[in-house]
Symmetry: C2
Subunit: 108 residues, 2 copies
DNA sequence: AATATTAATCGTAATATTGCAATATAACAA
DNA sequence: TTGTTATATTGCAATATTACGATTAATATT
């Protein structure tokens, strides 16, 4: 049915899933990696860098912004994007908690 | 068009996106968390634990198995699932590299 | 052999995602 | 004001995902 039954899961499980969804498209990974490397950039830079249409990049930026993973500040005619360091640190902790939780591994 | 342009991105970016996709549904997060907690379990356990239909859980398990995040061993009439510790360790490294890459944060 | 248990697969419906052309909006420059 | 540049939004088509009932396959149990 294409609809996730959010109510069956814990808040934390839904949060991990939502964050992971942000990382689940290579264009968004590329945008985030670029921002991590160059600190700040504008939409036009990413269009050149990644090679998708302007509208597409804009949409991906919007999703990242909605999750507060990045922030955009108006700077003349363009918008300057950067990682939101506070959120990013939170995400780092959340993923470390989740993925780092492997203890024993006596498989069946 | 609903089709991701994989060729525009690096192998690493596509890999992160694929792994993140595995984590991008709360049912799969729940399955993985449960396996991390109890070490091993069978499909039926997860159906009870999570409350989705057997076919649905089975499908999610298949996706996790395709990415080699988990492994399933036949044991009588049931299949015993567990985390694949080797892959899991790899994933831990990959996500640490990606998310842990924040250095300065002089935003715009 | 007949029946029960367990899980995978198939088929289908509902919904979500991806990508882009076209258009709209906003800020500046001449 | 007019034109230019930069970005966002809208609308749509193509594709992917999610969920589950029904069926199938395989092994146990009686």
């Amino acid at each position: 049915m294409g609809i996730t039954k959010t109510d069956k899961f814990t808040k934390q499980q839904n949060e991990i899933a939502n964050l992971a969804k942000a990382f689940s498209h290579p264009a968004r990974v590329a945008i985030l990696e670029h921002l991590l490397n160059v600190n700040t950039c504008i939409n036009g830079d990413l269009v050149k860098e990644i090679g998708l249409a302007q509208a597409t990049i804009s949409q991906h930026l919007k999703e990242l912004k909605n999750l507060e993973l990045i922030q955009g500040n108006i700077s003349g005619t363009s918008v300057c994007y950067c990682i939101n360091p506070i959120k990013w640190t939170e995400v780092n902790i959340i993923f470390n908690e989740f993925i780092g939780k492997l203890k024993m591994n006596n498989c069946c």
